[in-house]
Symmetry: C2
Subunit: 356 residues, 2 copies
């Protein structure tokens, strides 16, 4: 991003943070009245919400502004609701993948397992942590909708927004399920990886938040095609960058151990592009190593080298460039208000930057 | 229930079933478009939804009718949405408790684990089943809200209903979390068991659905106290009956192995009432056996005998009678429309019957 420009995310971050803080303060009181045991649940949630990049709220906000919506606090609240959906997705994803960390800190189920250990309770701390995290994710999903409905936007706007809001929730869960299936059945085609990215990332992270913003501003039908043309390729590029960082990223920046995606056996496009290019002996060894929880640093290095040498990495970088260019080209329209066009152009850079 | 009367649940069941079928048909198409792999997800959900007793929709419906609401299909749809919340709660509860069965059939996570086995995929079928069930529960929670909002009731009614609808979702998850905590820390006081029942059962199953119905009919503030006075004691009695059946019930009727609650170590009021009365040696042995997954039939028999001999069972039956009487007394008011009063009186019998 051009450091001379204010970040397109920072334009909405204060409103989003304030809306989340106010909502959480009210829920904290409510939960404490039900029982003091619920305080650690709220602490875990505060921690999870604080770490968000506010990317989905930013796309929702700029979808609204791009459709001519005014700069009013209510859109910040409606957009902030998406952070609860994302919190649910991440908390449950970490349970499903049995990931120990999230953004360099213990995952929610690990935090709750640690509470169990500290408290000296009976039973299995890990099982308690997982169960608690399932319930905390459920709370997030319920509160996402509660915050959306109580955003203060008019009934007609909220009703119009429900189309993309509903699709977004269904698609992200369907995409997560397809992702699990591909992982289990060892899917390794480019098509399979792209389908998962389409639902789990492209539509969920970029397209639907933009649609939601446009719908709330009363211009969904008019702007949906433009935002799809921009959002779907950008969302794929965003996920591809994430996948590349998941293999090559600096642990200090990604918050995950080096090569963690390889250890978890994620069936990303990076894997598909590598396996489709590598010689069969190398591909076989790669397959054997992929998903080995005890993967050594040497093996991670060997896998990285193959991803690079096979041309898999270059293919992914080329795709990022291509998808990014398609997203940029889609902004070449008068249908989107000028200030929003500039912000959406900056968001392309922010979402696909090599450093996070 | 007096067999001469039509069941107060059957009054709403056809509308609820029809609304669920229509909603699911639409979702089935949507999911199949995303990917044919999602068909088994919908099958699992159909199965889960088919087994519901429609108790929460019935209370919502009679809350509406009690507040003077007309017999229109839209209330059936809004009430049916609660079956999705219940499906989420049960699917996630079975994951959390690692329960193999639900209503005598494999739990959702076991169904998905079986799919994994049949498909011959890599990885751990049990882990896949749990992960898939987390996502399927999430879908249910999102669809609960989607169905509510799309019920066809007016915006003002839906807005008024959001208060109880929101509280209901927060309270059931908070109650489930407290339940987990009590189980882990070996809680055995009557007060602790009653607090869990208050949120997880009394408010969730009876009081809030009634409040929701009254709110949708525009009479929440007027009727909420009456429905609380009826709903909270009835909800506790309902859960107590469930807890007694969980220890003494016929597996053919409960759909769970005999003494399953004892094997799972549930910290129910039955346990609390027994431990507070048993001699210390017996209580110690009871504590040791409680929650042993390999509990033998002989040990189950011994525990049942202690629950009876200690007076724990009689105390629970006495509480069921007392709470039921309080619920009945609360109906002695002209605030509730006559037909609904009769139905709510029948629902007391239906919800606390010794046979299910």
């Amino acid at each position: 991003m051009n450091p001379a420009n204010p970040s397109p995310v920072s334009a909405v971050r204060p409103a989003v943070d304030a809306a989340l803080a106010e909502f959480m303060e009210h829920r904290r009181k409510l939960m404490a009245e039900i029982g003091p045991e619920l305080v650690p649940v709220m602490d875990a949630l505060d921690h999870m919400l604080a770490g968000g990049k506010r990317l989905r709220p930013a796309f929702c906000y700029w979808g609204w502004r791009g459709a001519g919506g005014a700069e009013i606090p209510e859109i910040g609240t409606a957009a902030a609701a998406l952070e609860f959906l994302q919190a649910c997705a991440l908390i449950h994803d970490d349970v499903i993948d049995n990931s120990d960390t999230r953004r360099g800190r213990p995952a929610t189920h690990r935090r709750l397992a640690a509470l169990h250990e500290r408290s000296g309770w009976d039973g299995d701390p890990a099982a308690f942590g997982r169960g608690a995290a399932v319930l905390i994710g459920d709370l997030c999903l319920a509160w996402c909708e509660e915050m959306y409905s109580a955003s203060g936007l008019g009934e007609a706007a909220l009703r119009a927004g429900r189309g993309p809001f509903d699709m977004m929730r269904t698609e992200v869960m369907a995409g997560q399920y397809l992702d699990m299936i591909e992982q289990e059945r060892g899917g390794e085609t480019v098509e399979a990886a792209l389908r998962v990215m389409h639902y789990k990332s492209a539509k969920y992270t970029v397209e639907r938040p933009l649609h939601l913003g446009a719908a709330l501003a009363g211009r969904h039908d008019e702007l949906a095609p433009v935002f799809t043309a921009y959002g779907v390729p950008l969302g794929v590029a965003f996920q591809l960058r994430d996948d590349v960082l998941g293999v090559f990223g600096d642990p200090a920046q990604t918050g995950k151990p080096a090569g963690d995606d390889l250890r978890e056996g994620k069936r990303t496009l990076v894997v598909a592009e590598t396996l489709s290019r590598a010689r069969s002996g190398d591909a076989d060894r790669f397959r054997t190593l992929l998903g080995d929880p005890a993967l050594s640093a040497e093996s991670v290095d060997w896998m990285r080298a193959l991803i690079t040498a096979s041309g898999g990495l270059a293919a992914c970088e080329q795709r990022i460039d291509d998808y990014t260019a398609r997203a940029s080209a889609a902004l070449d329209t008068d249908a989107i208000a000028p200030e929003a066009r500039a912000a959406l152009a900056d968001l392309i850079v922010a979402a696909t930057a090599r450093e996070r």
